[in-house]
């Protein structure tokens, strides 16, 4: 069994094959996994907010979808990943609490997912699979050997994408 490399909230990490990257208890945040299909170099970033643009304190790049993905690509390319071979899988973006008036902040999960997809599109990274939305938490594990993303939940089963 390979050791799991943990990625915390507003945090990122990378690994070579056969490393396994994991982030525990994703809620409204989004876990973005990048995978180089040729070298199997893998990366994961756990973002909390859609964009660094309107936020004053934006020094932590891993906190935002826009800067987080860009920085992760940079780190992976530095490790030897091929930019053109990168694909992505994403999970998370739940709405943990239900309120009738869907104010911006309560829909933060959806906004995080939308911003993530837009950023991936702008950067020309294909999104090959996703498990997003709902109202429950997820623990995710990215296996660099296969590129499979394992998703575990409480009460909503386990799946691979």
């Amino acid at each position: 069994m390979t050791d799991l490399i943990k990625v915390g909230m507003a945090d990122m990490n990378t690994t070579n094959c056969p490393g396994v990257l994991t982030t525990l208890g994703l809620g409204s945040c989004v876990g973005i996994c990048l995978y180089d299909t040729s070298t199997k170099i893998s990366g994961m970033v756990h973002i909390m907010l859609p964009s660094s643009a309107q936020i004053k304190n934006n020094s932590n790049l891993a906190k935002f979808a826009d800067t987080g993905i860009a920085k992760l690509i940079e780190d992976m390319v530095r490790m030897g990943a091929k930019r053109s071979k990168l694909v992505s899988k994403i999970a998370g973006g739940s709405q943990m609490f239900n309120f009738n008036d869907a104010s911006d902040i309560m829909r933060i999960g959806t906004r995080n997912v939308t911003a993530t997809k837009e950023t991936l599109k702008q950067l020309n990274i294909p999104l090959v699979a996703e498990d997003t939305g709902g109202n429950y938490g997820r623990t995710i594990e990215l296996y660099s050997e296969t590129g499979i993303l394992l998703i575990k939940t409480i009460g909503y089963g386990m799946k691979q994408i």
Binding site: M9, A10, D11, G25, N57, M96, I154
Partner: protein, 204 residues
């Protein structure tokens, strides 16, 4: 210009701690009236933590917890969230409904009772805050969720994350006989409201 938790000085932290103290005291009294039993409490701890350390408070990001979330409006806008471990929640509902249920699972009655407790606790905290500051505060109906601690905590962390890299929470222990009910209370003023709050307390 908003104030972030990262910039709070020790006087401001003391004031926040005192609010937690008074609020928890009122909450314990209210809870005690509700179940007609004596409720003691430990002095609440105010913690200001980095995001990555928050989930460790309840035993890690995958531990199953209950969160009860409220929106606050009025002179300041923001949110309140109570978080407790499933074990504590079960103990609390057993106390409330005078039942002895050794099982781990929570049913609809339990959830309903927890929402009611949430109402009382948030009402107590807010009325003491309101009395201290003279600010008018209105609290919404509760929304309850049970899931992994990381997922529940993502909500306050994201709210705090808009202004800084730390969260503030107040740890409270309610004690009835041999039962210890441990709760964590998050008071999250919106970006501009934090300054209003501190100003009204005379510490800016």
């Amino acid at each position: 210009m908003g104030i972030s938790l990262d910039d709070l000085n020790s006087l401001q932290i003391d004031v926040m701690r005192e609010i937690g103290n008074i609020g928890a005291g009122n909450a314990a009294t209210a809870l005690s009236k509700m179940i007609s039993k004596r409720i003691d409490m430990d002095v609440p701890k105010v913690n200001i933590l980095e995001f990555r350390n928050v989930a460790e408070l309840v035993g890690g990001p995958e531990v199953e917890v209950i969160g009860i979330y409220f929106k606050v409006t009025g002179d300041i806008d923001g949110s309140i969230m109570f978080l407790m471990e499933k074990k504590s929640a079960k103990m609390l509902t057993n106390l409330l409904m005078s039942k002895i249920d050794e099982g781990e699972s929570l049913d609809d009655m339990d959830f309903s009772a927890l929402q009611e407790v949430g109402n009382i606790l948030s009402g107590s905290y807010l009325s003491s805050l309101s009395a201290l500051t003279g600010l008018k505060l209105v609290v919404s109906v509760p929304s309850l969720a049970m899931d992994m601690a990381g997922a529940i905590l993502s909500v306050p962390v994201i709210l705090f994350g808009q202004v800084g890299d730390k969260v503030m929470l107040i740890e409270t222990d309610f004690i009835e006989g041999t039962n210890h009910v441990k709760g964590n209370f998050f008071l999250i003023p919106d970006e501009d409201s934090f300054e209003i709050l501190l100003k009204s307390l005379g510490v800016v």
